[in-house]
């Protein structure tokens, strides 16, 4: 299905204050691929994701999602295809009741009320939060909020899932659940995270960004276990692989 291809050609982005956050990014993600984006604080990950969804428009270069080039005119349409899970679930859940929040997107898609109801129930079921349907989001624990945030996006049946730091602030168990959920999602995924272990678990492919440029693009197993490469980019081995190298065997 060629229409789920994400393609970036030499994308530059400068914030209005002059900060050059992206300096020529090009890559191509085909249908069903899962890609991890890693890099230090300020590398440009969030900026890149915001460009993908048309929240920011590249100052130079081209982005196309499917066969549609991204522009101010097409971004509404593209947002229907791209489901964006933001870094903090609190920003994403702005309605008073979980149900309403999940229904927000489908309603705006213009679906009938029965369809909306079906979508909401399916999405909440998928993340295991159907029982939270009538709760207000600010009474949920961080992990629950995260799951509901994912449901709000799933309810729109996106072709492409884009997530910014999905694992932060989760306790170990919730993090594990998230990983399993992500592994279960079969469409294209692009995930930015500092949690290299999660990337290693969920994404076959990994892109390392530094200072707004791509410095490496390849299989996660290869890149994330390449100590010199990681060192150069101010990263570290995924924790689950550190022990073997750094300390005496247990």
């Amino acid at each position: 299905m060629s229409h789920h291809i994400v393609e970036l050609k030499d994308v530059f982005y400068s914030y209005p204050d002059g900060t050059e956050a992206l300096k020529g990014i090009s890559f191509r993600v085909i249908h069903g691929e899962s890609v991890g984006l890693v890099g230090t604080n300020g590398a440009g990950k969030t900026t890149l994701l915001l460009n993908l969804n048309g929240h920011l428009i590249p100052t130079r270069g081209e982005i196309s999602i499917g066969e549609v080039p991204l522009s101010k005119g097409t971004r509404q349409e593209i947002r229907r295809k791209v489901g964006f899970v933001f870094q903090r679930p609190d920003d994403q859940l702005f309605m008073p009741i979980v149900y309403e929040d999940v229904a927000f997107g489908p309603i705006n898609l213009g679906l009938s009320m029965e369809k909306v109801d079906e979508r909401v129930n399916d999405a909440l079921e998928m993340v295991g939060c159907l029982h939270l349907k009538n709760r207000p989001p600010h009474r949920l624990s961080e992990g629950q909020k995260r799951s509901v945030a994912i449901a709000t996006v799933m309810a729109m049946k996106p072709d492409i899932l884009v997530m910014d730091e999905p694992g932060s602030n989760l306790d170990p168990k919730s993090r594990r659940q998230l990983i399993n959920l992500l592994k279960g999602f079969k469409h294209t995924k692009i995930i930015a995270s500092h949690d290299l272990d999660m990337i290693l678990d969920v994404c076959e492919r990994c892109i390392i960004i530094k200072d707004g440029k791509i410095v490496a693009d390849g299989s996660s197993e290869e890149l994330l276990l390449n100590e010199t490469l990681l060192e150069e980019n101010n990263l570290e081995l995924p924790l689950s692989r550190q022990y073997l190298y750094v300390k005496r065997p247990f």
């Binding site: 209005p16 204050d17 947002r79 933001f86 927000f104 997107g105 213009g110 709000t152 729109m156």
Partner: protein, 269 residues
Amino acid sequence: MTFDLEFFNLGYLDTLSNKDTLVHRIDPRIKIIVSFIFILFVVSFQKYQISSLMPFFLYPVFLLTAGDIPFKAIAKKVIVVSPFALFIGIFNPIFDTNVILTPFGIPVSGGWLSFFSIIIKFVLTVSTAILLIAVTSFPGICEALERMKVPKIFVIQLLFLYRYLFVLLDEALRMVRAREARSFGSRGKEIRTFIRLISVLLIRSVERAERIYRAMLSRGFRGEIRVLRRLHLRYFDIVFATGSITMFYILRNYDVVDLIGATLNRLLR
């Protein structure tokens, strides 16, 4: 999206204000007072006066260039906020059609004169206000206010406002983006949704204030915040102040422009 831009601009001016140049180093109190007096002088001109306002561009140009502020940034801001003055001013040519001048045989009505006078005053005063903050850090302005006997409670909450401005703008920006990602066109932007978003933001703000208060308490806060005093008047500050005010005074009371113009005129003949 325009609000995104305002937000970025705010950050940009803030960045500029943290530079270190001759003008940035002038005591904020001096800059506030001189700028204020400057504005008083500018608006004191009669409504048909245009040419005598020209020398007053010296002051903003000085702040701009000596403060190493990009011209484009200031020009853009001035243009962005001009509609209201334009809106009021544009009625003058309509209601005041008496021909006052006929330079080179072109009749010019009083309305147009006063319209341009408004526009020039507008550019002068607005650019000075922006330049003031571009060459003075906001905490500097607050300290100046405190030293100028503005009540401390007011100054301190102003500092808090400034501190959390960036944090909350960022939070709101992220909420707006989240809403945009799931609404298409004007759907999802009804007042009903708006009220919910704002309320959530409000609750979070209040909760944040509670957390800040806790942080203050745990560092020994007991109702008294002391503002550090770092400002010292220097020789140059005094020179700058007296120099500029004297200049404004001369420019206001002696029509330098006319003098130059008349002299040139005579020479040309």
